[in-house]
Point group: C2
Amino acid sequence: MLGVTVFRIGEAAELLGVSADTVRRWIDAGRLPAGRDEAGHRVVDGAELAAFVRAAGNDPDERADASSARNRLRGIVTAVVKDTVMAQVDIQCGPFRVVSLMSREAVDELDLRVGSVAVAVIKSTTVVVERVPSKGRTS
Amino acid sequence: MLGVTVFRIGEAAELLGVSADTVRRWIDAGRLPAGRDEAGHRVVDGAELAAFVRAAGNDPDERADASSARNRLRGIVTAVVKDTVMAQVDIQCGPFRVVSLMSREAVDELDLRVGSVAVAVIKSTTVVVERVPSKGRTS
DNA sequence: CTAGCGGTTCCGCAGATGCAGCCCGGTGTG
DNA sequence: CACACCGGGCTGCATCTGCGGAACCGCTAG
């Protein structure tokens, strides 16, 4: 098991958040290196895809750049639920919804409300990583 | 201070990650409610923008749906640095780069490597929210 | 008061993306 | 073995998005 993770075009497309056609065009344009399997289907190496998605994520979004420094996800507040002592704040950060539980006092003090811009900050030691059952095979 | 956060078209565009032209077209198409200020400039209400970004984030991406349940950010591993006892794993989740610090043993056990698909899971109590110096005024 | 600067509106254009249609190859089931 | 189903390759088309240009408005500095 060399463990080289490879993706088919559909899998890569889902990961990148675009259609398979777009991934195909990127490959044909040479922007994303890929090979072909015995059936003529395009095969994308996991490491290549990682490099591509990293490059794509850095350039266009300066806000992502500012974020990429240390787990800073910038977004817009979509919900605020205030309890007596605690409060829950939902932030939409790009395609993800991040939920934060904090004291009600903190919410009041920050004056967080629906529509406000906020940044979700996460200590890297509190991030748990799960492997995905998935797809990519080892070849 | 009623605290109704409002955005100008450029600010909304930056938040949504698109150009001001696109936001203008969305408004003209009725997809995003907006008013006009005394100068004829479009003005977007923060709550409306929040509703819009929430809807936009849920529909297209089923993977985001699966993620939105509880701070589950799915992405691709872009870097793995192994130290003697600790390890750092970088995951590109949409436009954001998430860094996780974990024991080296955990990395080996999960068989995490560049190009693997992984999910960053974050307890909502460990998410710190910062307000942005920003923009949106109170009217 | 005037000039300069930044942001917005509106217009038109070129490139990128998504989608539908059609054919092919691999897989599983009866 | 025959059949249906699924994912992929390839083509063409409609749409969306971003960019540049020209004019307008509001704010600030001189």
